[in-house]
Subunit: 415 residues, 2 copies
């Protein structure tokens, strides 16, 4: 009989509630070019105003708006052109009443000017007189200093990964470095006497190490640094030594466990023997994914997750439980509810798993304006149903099943 039987299955919410005890990783400063997709560890504030000066947003003429009031095609206003503002330089002079200066988009407005008349509503006469055929309002076709950002304003909150437009704004503000959370380092182990390395030709009864590769790619997809630690034999001392070493190097340890009861028990015993070990979860009320282990270990504390051995179970546990743990360690604020999800209609009835949250793989299919979610069934020992699917549909605990035609929320598999 397995020691699994002595543990109560915990719900997903109960598992997630344990994550609060694990602190985020340290922070580091990175150059702006390396900051895309990284997570600010503190709110970023503007050190100065943007724009920094009163600018033209159109090609045309800097004017005093009041000098154009009443101007029209039939009754143009006439102004003196006293010069041109060179790009990237301060205007050489101010304008007075009934005066104007040529400006290109982005040029600084001369003192005295408060608007720009667009080129297409003007004509230059040979005597340097400007004909203006349309009035402009004060401020028209210009940007005021600080109109984009005021000094001291928070431009990027902590915990939200930086997007291209964020980098654009940071560059405009002259911010060359950003303090971000370091990428979590995640050690990935495989255990099981039947597992051989990727390069090996499996002998009778042997299989290649596929789950560790899948988990490592998931870690990379979620912004972590996977450390593939290879296969540890079904041996207590070897397992304990390997896990101890990994805990010194990694922020999270994943053990892609053998699927058999014997191997699971051995893994649990080895984890319990680690410094400061506390088993928080041993069995989760979800299908697939029941034989999942979560432990807190010394130094941090740092989390260790024992993944189920079946490939589909390991993938679902990583998606549903591993990803939020990675996000916690990486200092990420919760993602908005519309990210990585899509609403579709279920194409057939689905029975739920009694007493467990049930995760069903689905393939999405568009038919006219309707998006259908086709369940992709198959035992959790298979990899190809995961490969043929686009995402997961969850049947909540206590729900008997979902009906054909029901609207479902699909959690998309990231690329």
């Amino acid at each position: 009989m397995s020691s699994l039987e002595f543990f109560r299955l915990q719900t997903r919410e109960e598992v997630l509630a344990h994550y609060g005890r694990f602190p985020p990783v340290e922070t580091e400063k990175v150059d702006l070019l390396a900051a895309w997709g990284r997570t600010p560890a503190e709110p970023i504030t503007a050190p100065e105003a943007a724009p920094g000066f009163f600018r033209a947003t159109m090609d045309g003429y800097a004017v005093r708006a009041r000098d154009t009031f009443g101007a029209g095609a039939g009754a143009p206003a006439y102004l003196n052109i006293i010069g041109e503002v060179p790009m990237g330089e301060a205007p050489g002079q101010a304008i007075g009443p009934e005066e104007s200066m040529r400006v290109a988009t982005g040029a600084m407005l001369p003192p005295g000017a408060d608007a720009v008349v667009m080129l297409e509503y003007t004509a230059e006469h040979p005597d340097q007189t400007l004909e203006v055929r349309r009035p402009v309002a004060q401020g028209e076709n210009t940007l005021q200093p600080g109109e984009d950002v005021m000094p001291g304003e928070v431009v990027c909150p902590a915990g939200v990964p930086l997007r291209p437009q964020d980098l654009g704004l940071l560059a405009a503000l002259g911010i060359t470095q950003v303090r971000v959370y370091r990428r979590p380092r995640v050690a990935v182990f495989s255990s099981g006497d039947e597992i051989v390395p990727l390069e090996a030709q499996p002998g009778p009864g042997q299989v290649r190490d596929s789950n560790a590769w899948m988990a490592a790619a998931q870690v990379a997809a979620w912004g972590g640094v996977p450390l593939l630690k290879g296969i540890v034999p079904d041996d207590f001392e070897a397992l304990k030594t390997a896990l101890t070493a990994a805990l010194n190097e990694a922020d999270l340890v994943l053990v892609s466990g053998g699927s058999s009861v014997g191997v699971r028990d051995l893994t649990l015993t080895a984890i319990q023997a680690l410094p400061g070990a506390e088993i928080l979860v041993h069995g989760v009320a979800m299908r697939p994914g029941k034989p999942t282990i979560l432990a807190a270990l010394a130094h941090g504390p740092k989390p260790l997750v024992g993944l189920p051995g079946h490939p589909a179970s390991a993938a679902v546990v990583m998606e549903v439980l591993g990803r939020p743990l990675m996000e916690r360690l990486a200092g990420l604020a919760p993602a908005p509810p519309w990210v990585g999800r899509v609403t579709a209609y279920l194409s057939r009835n689905l029975a739920g798993a009694s007493g467990r949250e049930d995760y069903v793989r689905v393939k999405l299919r568009r038919e006219g304006d309707t998006l259908w979610a086709d369940p992709v069934l198959g035992p959790s020992g298979l990899l190809s149903p995961m490969v043929k699917s686009n995402g997961l549909v969850m049947i909540p605990l206590g729900v008997e099943g979902l009906l054909r035609g029901e609207e479902v929320n699909v959690r998309l598999f990231g690329s």
Copy 2:
């Protein structure tokens, strides 16, 4: 008067239709660990079957299913236990009628066995007799060789980036390297006499180079390698020399242009003077984004895109026109329509741009079960409205506007 006037504005569809002439980049072989997110250049087929042998998917006993027929709690079947199959090894013997062997999940079934009885429906008696309290069907709790994948089957199509589960399956099949498209190299230039580098303190009338940083981050987000080429002065020869050098190194050249007519004309003249230059597009019927240039140049041909100078215009053009061009060069198949999009309800009326496809920034807001898209207005010269937004809503050409409460498809900004 700008030379822009001599060109007819092209629609988005017309612009995209030009992309067919640009060939995808070359391919390269990468190790499996580096293959996550990369795009296979050819379909990947299974070199062997998975699983490779007849396996148990549960802990229990390998049996001949017919020996358990009719078994029940009240009338168990009794079998002889003749041994155990060690993990990762071939079974030492076959089973005959009324015989069984202990197996763990993942173990190879012995010849003669055709099913596995789960541990929980059995009891072992001291005389090595197995009590079976439930019948199993042929094949139950087992996987047949090739049940996951048959030899020669296409497991990953060309053109679709590899996901974690794909890597898991490739690992299981012993595929250690994958032929993928090389990441497109994209040279990014800024032009404009008012532009100063990120590190500089702008003088009067000067601004920092923000668009190039935004475009470079977009390139990185879409799987390309950005090459930040700095600022070229508003000088024909300097611009021509810099662009020629970039074309030898990059697969795509982006010129984040000055916004003024003079700079735009200069850029166009320099592009026209490049080897084999053909201007395909000069002006697009979209708002923002009208002053966009697309050219085909010698060697490939290779594409060059002249981006508008206003930050919001450059960002929208990159998203709507630059991204599909990147995807073409990167060998990507069209993404499914549900990726990176979300349906929301517009929170206020929006007027369209007459004669142009109109792209409006929106911020998403959840209110109960309803997702609202709040338009974020502001001139295209500003960066902060892009930073405050989650995505874009498009008002099609020829549509006068969208009404409050209308369902809209939001193109999400990627992180």
